[in-house]
Every structure is written in C-alpha cells, then in structure tokens.
Amino acid sequence: MNQYWVAVIGTSAIAFILKYSGHSVPEKWLSHPRIQKVNALIPIALLSALVAVQSFTEKSKLMVDHRLLGLSVAIIALLLKAPFPIVVISAAASSALLYNLNN
C-alpha cells in the first residue's frame, strides 16, 4: 500500500474518531479556555505554513517562480473582500498566464 492510501485511510479514521469522541466526552473536559485558545491558533499556524510551503518551495528547495504572482493576486483579491472562488480563480489565471509566457 503506498503513502497516498495510508494517508487517505489514516486521515479518515482519525477524523471520525475525533468527531465521535467529541460527541461522547463530558463537556467540561474540553471547555478549558487555554484548550479553546490553542485550538483557535493551530489552524492559523498550519494553514499559513501550507500557503508558504506550497508557494515558495519545490522538492525541499526554496523557489520563487510564477506562483509568487498567483499568491500576490490572491492577497489583493482577499484585501478587496472578493469571494472565495474569485480568489482561487484569479490566482490560478495570473499564475498560468506567467507560466505560459515563460515556457
């Protein structure tokens, strides 16, 4: 079984266990304010790291390329309060344009 299948099955199993255990544990166990605070910060950290790694690295090397334009356009779109699909499409279109001009 390759890494991709292990990832699909493992991620799905743990995702369900997390959801189901939430429905089964006493509320007071997880209502501590510190746990709530950390829980709000973890997505910020992980998602920001993913944005950066997917934009500026290629096979464990640092790399600045057409993706920088895509990311910049996405940031501008978000600053202009564009809806999610516009953010994604405008990033893709600008990045594709630059890539195709260079290749």
Binding site: T11, A15, K19, E27, L41, V51, V53, V87, A92
Partner: protein, 220 residues
C-alpha cells in the same frame, strides 16, 4: 420531525451550496498533488473536513510522508471534536444516529445550528442536520467534478493549479486572522516553514508550526 422552518431551510441550503462548491478546489488540489480521483473522492466521503483534507494533500504533495500528512490533518480535525462537545447535549442522539451526527459535525453544520438557536431548539436541530447533509452531498459531488477536471488538464502549472491550491489555503486562513497577534503568528509560521524546508524532512516544517501555535496559546 415537525415542519421545517423556511428561514432555517434557506440558511442551510445557501451555506451547503456555497461551501459544497469549494469541493471543486479540493478535488482539483488533490489530483494536482498526486492523489487519484478515487482517493480524492474517498477523502471527501470519509474524512469530510475541508481544512484537514487540503492539509493532507498539501503535505503529501510537498513530498511529506503519510504520517506527517495524517498528523497535520488530524491537528486540524481537533476542532470538529470540540464542535461535537457543543452539539451532543443539543442533539441528544444515540447509537447509529450519533455516528451519522458525528460524521457531519463540521464548521458549517455547527455554525448554522448555533445561528438557529435564537429561533427555537427545533430549528437549531434542523439547521444542523440540513446543513450537515447538504454540505456532505454538494462537497462530494463537487470533489468528483474538480478531480475529473484536474485529471483532464495534464500539466497543472499551465492551468495555474499550483497557485490555486495555496490561494485556497489562504482563503481558508484569512477570516481567522482577526488580531495583529494572529497575523504575526501566521507570518511567523509561514517564514518558519519555508526556512526549515531545506533542512527538515518534507512535511515536518508544516507540522512543527503547530507547536509554535501551542506555545503562543499557552502563554497568552
């Protein structure tokens, strides 16, 4: 079940359709990062949690191991557990119904349900089930569409998919950046992850940022 409140139905459907449509971005991202169409669809059916799904495909696409992908996705899935804690005493379901309720316990179902609480506790429960099932159906249909679309593209860079994926992550994190310290954490983690990429094995720079979040959260 008594008659469905029309305002609750409208809220549930509009959230379901809008959020479900993001499934196109996920399906495309999964295939762009090396997952098959079947694997992409199974992630949407079984994991059914957008941020976790994007994370696991992002980590494996960056060359990370299955273990670091699973760990990153699971850290993002913890909040669904917390939603379960909030929803359980409100839904009061057991057995098979609890299993179904758990699977559809996500940001949107919990959010819409809590938003309906001002109407009635019946509307709150209806909001949870309608939004949970609605997002589930649309998210899975749109995942399939996105995965098939990306598979047909060939060189994903020529279509900008390699930028669509980080843009989608950015769109997910953006609404969470409410204070300056949130923004500082985001930028710090982004810089850290990129700087560590040539040094640490793939996938680890991403998951390591969770410890930065824990350190910041415990100190505040």
């Amino acid at each position: 079940m008594s008659k469905v409140n029309s305002a609750t139905l409208r809220d549930s459907l509009s959230v379901s359709l809008t959020v479900g449509a993001y499934g196109v971005a996920f399906g495309a991202a999964a295939v762009a990062n090396g997952f098959t169409v079947l694997q992409s669809c199974l992630l949407s059916l079984l994991t059914f949690s957008g941020a976790s799904q994007f994370a696991v495909v992002g980590v494996l696409g960056a060359g990370g191991t299955a273990l670091s992908g699973i760990a990153t996705a699971s850290l993002l899935g913890i909040r669904n557990g917390l939603y379960g804690v909030i929803m359980a005493p409100r839904l009061k379901v057991k057995g098979f119904k609890r299993i179904v309720a758990a699977q559809i316990t996500i940001d949107e179902s919990t959010g819409v349900a809590l938003g309906q609480e001002v109407r009635s506790s019946e509307a709150m429960r209806q909001g949870f089930w309608l939004t949970g099932f609605g997002v589930f159906i649309f998210w899975n249909l749109f995942t399939l569409a996105g995965a098939l679309g990306a598979q047909a593209m060939g060189d994903i860079r020529a279509w900008g998919l390699d930028s669509a994926v980080p843009a989608a992550f950015l769109g997910l994190v953006w609404p969470r950046l409410k204070t300056n310290s949130d923004r500082a954490l985001a930028i710090g983690c982004a810089v850290f992850a990129v700087a560590m990429t040539p040094i640490l094995p793939a996938g680890l720079p991403i998951i390591a940022t969770a410890f930065i979040a824990i350190a910041v959260g415990v100190r505040r």
